[in-house]
């Protein structure tokens, strides 16, 4: 079975799970948690630079999923995107509350130390991760850093321009070009999610 077919199948089943959660199916929420806890917790720790904060947000995210699953519309996005966007949005909000953006911004382009259990090495997520890392690595460094500062540190284009002491127009161009190239590099996967 190809990676694309596997992902498509996973997405389809996640849509069903979200519908089940919307109907109050606790087991469906448990299965969503089991499927996404590792990727979301890794993302939250990367953004917040704190396991304790990340645990709180991860809990909050799935409570929100329980409450808001009925709002999910598969015609407007994938379950994965919906979950990641929800988690990232909550984490950025918390980051801003903590006022820790400047501190964390210094480590924006640094790689997060990998800490994953052996049980995950045979999962589909590892292949996805390698694909995304490879795509990021192929971006020009200025474009990659701009995307990383926005995505993991929650900085706006103006804040990135100030931080890098670069013209705002330059940052906008780098961000737009970087996203266009990223979409092209990840295109096959995105098409599979259709």
């Amino acid at each position: 079975m190809s990676l694309g077919v596997q992902l498509e199948s996973a997405e389809g089943s996640d849509v069903e799970l979200l519908h089940a959660v919307a109907r109050g199916d606790e087991a469906a929420l448990a299965r969503l948690y089991d499927g996404y806890r590792v990727i979301l917790f890794g993302l939250l720790v990367r953004i917040l630079n704190s396991r304790e904060e990340a645990e709180d947000i991860l809990q909050d995210v799935f409570i929100q999923v329980w409450r808001r699953a009925k709002d999910f519309d598969e015609t407007r996005g994938r379950p994965f995107t919906w979950l990641v966007t929800l988690a990232r949005s909550r984490a950025i909000d918390r980051l801003r509350q903590l006022g820790a953006r400047q501190r964390l911004a210094t480590g924006a382009a640094q790689e997060q130390t990998e800490a994953v259990s052996d049980a995950l090495t045979d999962t589909i997520r590892v292949a996805e991760r390698e694909t995304v890392r490879q795509a990021l690595a192929e971006l020009p460094e200025e474009q990659r850093n701009t995307l990383v500062l926005a995505y993991f540190d929650g900085l706006t284009q103006s804040e990135i321009a100030a931080k890098l002491n670069a013209p705002l127009g330059t940052i906008k161009t780098r961000m737009r070009s970087g996203m266009i190239k990223l979409r092209a590099l990840l295109g096959s996967q995105l098409e599979n999610f259709g």
């Binding site: 109050g24 087991a27 890794g42 407007r76 800490a115 990135i160 961000m175 970087g178 266009i180």
Partner: protein, 276 residues
């Protein structure tokens, strides 16, 4: 702003990197632009994949349990508030339990440790209270013993002083007998040529509250006040005083019941009196 201008903002929108003003303007445009809606969804899908660039991490098992507890508490609250709908009722039959994660033994040990520590703390506090109470009892007992010893020492000192006074070569003795208000009372007053005097009285009635017995030195019908004393429960009392110079020779000694502070002129009945 043109459609093309808005399209240039879509990448930043997907990364939540727009400034507030641009974000509001784009949101308004998106409400009516199907083309931009489709584009932003694709950009958001691509942006979401960046989550894989962060290292995957296994969260603690208790996060799952917390979520389970929270959503069940919400369900219980909803039921308690009487807002359970038909749909909610149907859901209940569909609810399956979370798969149990292996219990965190160390967390359990931590809980037991906390309970044990709390019990030890309570036991220590009870022990401290008991020790404190016992210490208080012993302190009170010691205070009583010390008080008794002080009284004994004072009595011994008086008796020693009385003995010295009586054995001095120039000692004088005067015997006081009870009057009709205290027929069973009697006393002995010893004094030397310096006027140093000691009185030992027995059989006196208890002095009423606020009253005490006062010694008087009487010569040529002149009444000179001495000190006051209060007898014990047995009617025994002692007094050490200094006799005024003019009253040491051929004086009469008397004891009256007076206010406790003493008076300059006798006002009460005579209880004891020496012969002239």
């Amino acid at each position: 702003m043109t459609h093309e201008n808005y399209k240039e903002l879509l990448a930043a929108k997907a990364l939540s990197a727009l400034d507030a003003g641009e974000a509001r303007a784009l949101d308004t445009h998106l409400e009516s632009c199907v083309d931009c809606q489709a584009e932003v969804i694709k950009s958001e899908d691509a942006a979401a994949l960046l989550a894989f660039a962060a290292g995957p991490l296994e969260p603690p098992a208790y996060v799952r349990e917390r979520i389970l507890v929270s959503i069940r508490a919400e369900g219980a609250q909803k039921s308690a508030s009487g807002r359970v709908t038909d749909a909610d009722s149907q859901r209940e039959g569909n609810v399956l339990a979370f798969e149990r994660q292996p219990r965190n033994v160390w967390a359990s040990l931590g809980s037991f440790g906390a309970i044990a520590a709390a019990l030890v703390l309570v036991a220590l506090m009870i022990g401290l209270v008991l020790l404190w109470q016992k210490n208080q009892v012993l302190q009170n007992e010691l205070a009583r013993v010390n008080e008794g010893m002080n009284q004994v020492q004072i009595e011994l000192a008086r008796q020693r002083a009385m003995g010295e006074l009586l054995t001095s070569p120039d000692a004088h003795m005067a015997k006081l007998t009870g009057t009709n208000v205290a027929p069973g009372a009697h006393a002995m007053l010893a004094y030397d040529r310096t006027g140093h005097a000691m009185l030992m009285a027995k059989g006196l009635p208890s002095a009423p509250e606020g009253m005490a017995y006062q010694l008087w030195y009487i010569k040529d019908n002149k009444k000179m006040p001495g000190k006051v004393f209060t007898p014990d429960a047995s009617g025994n009392g002692t007094l050490e005083d200094q006799i005024p110079a003019g009253a040491r020779e051929a004086a009469v000694f008397a004891i009256t019941l007076e206010p406790k502070a003493g008076v300059q002129v006798p006002t009460g009945s005579i209880y004891l009196v020496s012969s002239s």
